[in-house]
């Protein structure tokens, strides 16, 4: 069983990610993130520079939506199962009758990234792009793909 959904990027095709270590948000170009030509397993946080497998950087919104979709699928399957059970039991017209109240699904919202105030950078090592909040001279920015400082 597979559940899939799409995330719409901002006007330049950037999608938001979240560092599992420091909680900071940054954006990556959707095309580069999903490129089959340059696959990768880990991401580096552009702010704290620490690294973890790429799924750990999915934003809380994405995780919530995935959980909601999974929950709704489970509710749907349970409702189908109880529905069949009810028909089967009630068809026999015996002493036992069954009724059930269908389980409610949760609302899900469309994920769409907005244009925000981050600065766009290109890594001089791997030539891939990112958007981060940057204060010149006061912080270092690290490439999320290769980890070098920009």
């Amino acid at each position: 069983m597979e559940i899939s959904f799409t995330i719409q990027g901002d006007s330049e095709g950037y999608v938001t990610f979240e560092c599992p270590f420091c909680g900071s948000e940054f954006k990556l170009q959707a095309g580069e993130y999903q490129s089959d030509d340059e696959p990768f397993e880990d991401l580096f946080c552009p702010y704290c520079g620490l690294t973890k497998e790429k799924n750990a950087f999915l934003s809380s919104e994405v995780i919530e939506k995935a959980q909601a979709l999974a929950y709704n699928y489970a509710m749907e399957e349970l409702n189908k199962a109880f529905g069949k059970m009810t028909k089967s039991i009630n068809r026999s017209k015996g002493l036992i009758k069954m009724t059930y109240k269908p389980l409610k699904k949760v609302a899900t919202k469309e994920l769409k990234d907005k244009d925000t105030a981050e600065t766009e950078f290109e890594c001089s090592c791997c030539n891939r792009h990112m958007k981060v909040l940057y204060c010149a001279g006061a912080s270092k920015v690290f490439c999320p793909y290769c980890g070098v400082d920009i």
């Binding site: 270590f21 580096f44 704290c48 520079g49 620490l50 690294t51 973890k52 001279g137 006061a138 912080s139 270092k140 690290f142 980890g147 070098v148 400082d149």
Partner: protein, 279 residues
């Protein structure tokens, strides 16, 4: 102070080791902690950063990490950052060097809501040692910023395109410069160049060419005059502008003729405007 390349390599290596420690599981936690501690002890830059803060401090790490209470262990972080750094470093050393304990044993001695042992180890590493990791990471980054700024101020590279005046440049301080710009010779040269090319222009009426020729000669006359008349120059300039507009926009004919280009016409118009402003 290390050079920038060394610092960048150091930063990447340190962040990789730190991440391995923070992502540890039951199988590799002890190895990751041992490697991390060995790296910060053997690296001169990092050990210097740490020693600057903690070498003179006498503080028992068990006041920060309450592990021998007989109950669940607790964290009791001090307000003073240096005391906290010292405690983290000593706690790390204690776990690595002691034969009676290891990372898993220490992690499980604290109370966590998560029952998964790998999650407990990661939460323990995060709570116990991440502040030290963040401190060292920030110090390395600041060192890189300082080295970069020093390198930038030592040399300035400036690229200039066409220069029609004077360029004065230096790395720091003030430059006082007085320049007198003489447009006269440039205007005369351009006018002469364009005048000689007018006969090569095709598909333009003779009347239009005669009119612009009069305007160009009027400009040359005023520029050479000791007391140039602004109104005559303005009138001639308007005529030249109209000619350029009519030929390029209305008739879609090129101004290029002989050695004269569109840029020559535009430069001439710009320089006449500047000359008029000086009057």
């Amino acid at each position: 102070m290390s050079n920038l390349t060394e610092l960048r390599k150091l930063s990447l290596e340190f962040r990789r080791l730190s991440s391995n420690l923070l992502n540890s599981n039951i199988d590799n936690a002890d190895v990751n902690l041992s490697r991390f501690l060995k790296y910060i002890n053997e690296n001169n830059t990092i050990s210097a950063i740490l020693n600057e803060r903690i070498s003179d401090i006498d503080y028992d790490f068990k006041q920060c990490f309450l592990i021998d209470t007989g109950d669940w262990a607790e964290f009791n972080f001090p307000d003073d950052e240096n005391l906290h750094l010292k405690a983290q470093y000593d706690y790390m050393t204690f776990i690595v060097t002691s034969e009676e304990t290891n990372v898993r044993h220490q992690a499980m001695s604290y109370s966590w809501s998560d029952r998964n042992i790998n999650n407990q180890i990661q939460k323990f590493a995060d709570k116990a040692f991440k502040p030290l990791i963040d401190f060292i990471n920030d110090q390395i980054s600041m060192e890189m910023i300082v080295v970069e700024d020093t390198a930038k101020s030592a040399s300035i590279v400036q690229h200039f395109g066409d220069n029609y005046g004077t360029i004065n440049t230096q790395g720091s301080g003030e430059i006082n410069s007085q320049n007198t710009v003489n447009l006269n010779s440039d205007i005369l040269k351009l006018s002469e160049k364009i005048l000689t090319s007018l006969s090569d222009m095709t598909d333009v009426s003779e009347d239009a060419i005669e009119d612009v020729k009069d305007d160009l000669e009027s400009v040359a006359e005023q520029v050479k005059s000791p007391i140039p008349k602004k109104s005559r120059l303005q009138k001639a300039l308007n005529g030249i502008r109209k000619f350029v507009f009519d030929v390029t926009n209305k008739a879609a004919i090129t101004l290029v003729a002989g050695a004269v280009t569109n840029a020559d016409w535009n430069n001439l118009i710009e320089q006449i405007e500047q000359f008029i402003q000086t009057l």
